[in-house]
């Protein structure tokens, strides 16, 4: 007997290529879920990894940084928040 497959329909979960399976430190939702404002996860609600190596939903960290009280610091480690060495004002324009 010879077995061949004409077609194969597979199923997979996608995940962010992150070292640890964790939740967003701001909204407490899993990274693969959305921030509290978005409907769709993934490209619509992407992650941002800070230079301190903490990552958040982009929408979460932006609205955090917009607050005066955040002093533009990472909510997890209190380091100044930057992304690939760029200050956040540049990121926003990207």
């Amino acid at each position: 007997m010879k077995v061949t497959f004409k077609s194969w329909n597979a199923v997979a979960f996608w995940r962010w290529d992150m070292p640890a399976d964790d939740v967003c430190g701001i909204c407490r939702n899993p990274y693969e879920s959305t921030c509290s404002k978005c409907k769709y996860p993934g490209d619509d609600c992407p992650l941002l990894v800070g230079d301190c190596n903490h990552s958040f939903h982009m929408h979460c960290i932006f609205s955090w940084l917009r607050q005066e009280s955040s002093q533009e610091k990472c909510p997890m480690c209190r380091q100044r928040m930057s992304f690939n060495g760029l200050p956040r004002c540049l990121i926003q324009e990207v």
Partner: protein, 921 residues
Amino acid sequence: MTTSAMDHSHLIFSALFPVPSLSHTTPTPSATADLGFAQPGEPFEGSFVNNPAGQHRTARRNIAWSTATGFLALPKTTSDSDGGFRVHRPLKTQEVEEALRYLLVGEGKSGDAEGVKQEGLLEWYRDEVRLHFAGAVRPVVTELWEKPVSLQHAWDVLEETQRILQQDQDQCLRPFVEHIAPILTQSSFSSSMTFNANDDSQNGPEALYEQMQRDIHALFAYSIPERRFSQTLGYVLYDAGCNLFRLYIRQGKTSETGASEDTRAIRVRMTNLLQNLARVGLGGDTAQKACAHAMDKLMASFIESHFLKVDWYSKQSIVSQLQTWVENGFAPLVHLAMECLQCDLTDQETSELQQWQDMALGRLGRARVDNLFDFVINWAKSLGGILDIKEYLKLPDAKQYLVTHFSKQISRRLLHPGATTTYILNVYISVIRVFHELEPKGVLLERVARPIRRYLRERSDTARIIISSLLTDINDAQDTKFGPGSELSREIAREMQKPMTNLNQDADEDLNWNDMNWQPLPSDASLDYKKSKMDDVIWFLLTLWDRDDFITEMKTIFGEHLLKCQDPEYEKEIRLLELIKIRLGDDKLQACEVMLRDILDSKRINAAIRTNLTTVPPSTPNNPPPHTPPNFGPKTPQLRQTRSSTKHRTPAPTSVPGAAKPEITLSAQILSSNFWPTLRDDIFKIPTPISELQASYARQFEAIRGMRKLDWIPALGDTSVVLELEDRTVEVNATTFQASIIYAFQAQPGEEWAGSKGKGKSKSKAQGITRNVEQLEEMLQMDEGLVRQGLAFWVGKSVLRESHQDTFAVIENLSTLSSSNADDAAAAQEMAEAQAQAAASTVKSQTDLLKEKKGLYSQFIVGMLTNQGNMPIMKIGMMLKIAVPGGFPYGGEELKGLLGWMIEEGRLADLGGGVYGVRKA
């Protein structure tokens, strides 16, 4: 004037009644028998003063009495003169006339003689009538009425009774009219100057006549048993009515013909009887009640026979016909009957007609309501019956009657364990439609539907059936799909077919953007929340549960459905989500929306990646290009095929095995893990070519979607497998685990297989590759249970056979298959289909959870049956509940499934009659 008249009469009297006649024996009232000679007393008024014969008054009165009473006497026995009727009244001589006059208006009239009250002639006559009736008539009447009157004699008995009484009444009243009244009239006329009018009217001849007639009527009435009379008369009227309205329901009645010419005769006969009964005083209360009762019964019979037939053809209400009948047929008859009975009808006529109309409608309506459940089931053919009920609901109390009785029908005929959830849902939908017709406001629906809704909520499969049905295409679903035992409701699917435009209108109404207080529908809001929703069946279904509960359920079912969905456009799925958003608001539907988006996105990603993938495996130049268009396209028709497809497929590739490596089309569904329900997560090794393809796919995915990776779920998905065997090629749609198992039956490097070249054909024919369960577990890293399920699937397809216990061989050549193998295959196919059903469920169900713990349960069962011997299933269930740590939270069906599985496993034996035992090795 008066004096002279009295004198004159006295003169005549004395001339005719000479003294010797005193000794003549004639009927003498006893009251006067021992009167002595009259003493000189106070003078009487009027002529008495001048009466020359005063002192002989008593004697003279006695003579006159004898003469008068002798003349007026009535027979006292039935044997007297022809049954007591024909009286040979003696000739009325002058003497009689004188005596009468003397006793009635003369000095012998009555009153006190010497202080003793003397009986008057009128009083005597009344007694005489009474005695006569008791002696001569009552026995005859009694004979007619002493026994129950048989129906066929009812008319005769009444008519005969009436005849007898009429005759008697005439006989008794004639002497009064002919002999007594004229004297009184004359007297009262002549005395009208001196006596006051009051006195006159009380004692005048008319009043006396009426008094006498009343007396006689009372005698008559008391002589007939009231109940029996009333029943007999009632029957007669009912019978007349039946004839008049052509109702032939009396038992044994044969004359259906000639009814029309009878009609007039019957009307006349009835009219006469009633009028005559009234004439003898039998038309009073009793008769009227009997008549009313008969008419009521007549109406009931008429409605039953003529109107109970629902208009199934033109689907009209028959109420207007009924009203016409009441107005033109029934009411005139009742009126006629009552008129004959001399009831006063003048002022009630119109209001009575309305009463009869209401009565008729009430009867019809109640009869209809008693069948309402059947009308619901037969909606919309039953529209006529429903419209009748709608008319009936205008009556007071009708709504209460309907709610009470229909609720009883619902609980008896619908809400019981024997009814499938699909059936209950279908009936509920009909109830919604019927009640929308009956009462658009929805108050009644809310009341009658409450228990149905409660019951549906309690059933665990309700939501699944609703959602699956909403997602079923009624057009391409075969009829069997909606069969009685089906998990799909055609009615629900049909609702989904209704054009979206209506829904959008609803939506605009619901989501009134100007309404600042607008909120999503409260869960299970009172159903009159929105009257306009009354005919929105889907809304009723979606609001069965608390909104959050429903959406949780929806998420599971929707997810499972999407993974299996074969429609490349996902039209129904998109539509259902829209529909739910419109009706329930889009709050908390995120999971469903993400799942749908995942599936739609996957389709696009597949289109992008597959184009690249096809170049990965080495392919021969003359291989046909893949079916899928190279660019992003909305349609991927060849990709998702039915697992158990009945469609005819393109034949399998005929290329020689090994000559060219055929392409494999890999497509993937890429899911967002947090939004999908818990999915099957069995782990096993999929065929290497597939895992290579998957790795390649994943790489390309990562290239397209930066920062993302894929985790494959081997247990989910399906495949189209082509098996090239020695004598045949088989193409099968299988799940991934089934495909992986059959793939493992291919020859491994170094292994011989029957189809390979260079081997003696005689030997190869008999032998395909064999694998045992253990080997497969090892090779595939697969759970034993899943291995066995997969093996059963292939045995069912006649691809494998169990050559030894737990060892399976490829059937390279069907001619080698013995008939017992064929039987095995049939049995296995059956089993495999059942399993395929279970396996098809991609989401973990209660059954899956049971499977996870089945090791524990089965261990316990084997131990128990070993120690305690064979046991019926009931007891096994009980013992599990009591003795297993954590209990056994499943019902009989699940337990049966578990035991069935253990039998498959060869650990138990079904000993019949629900008794199980340990299988002896």
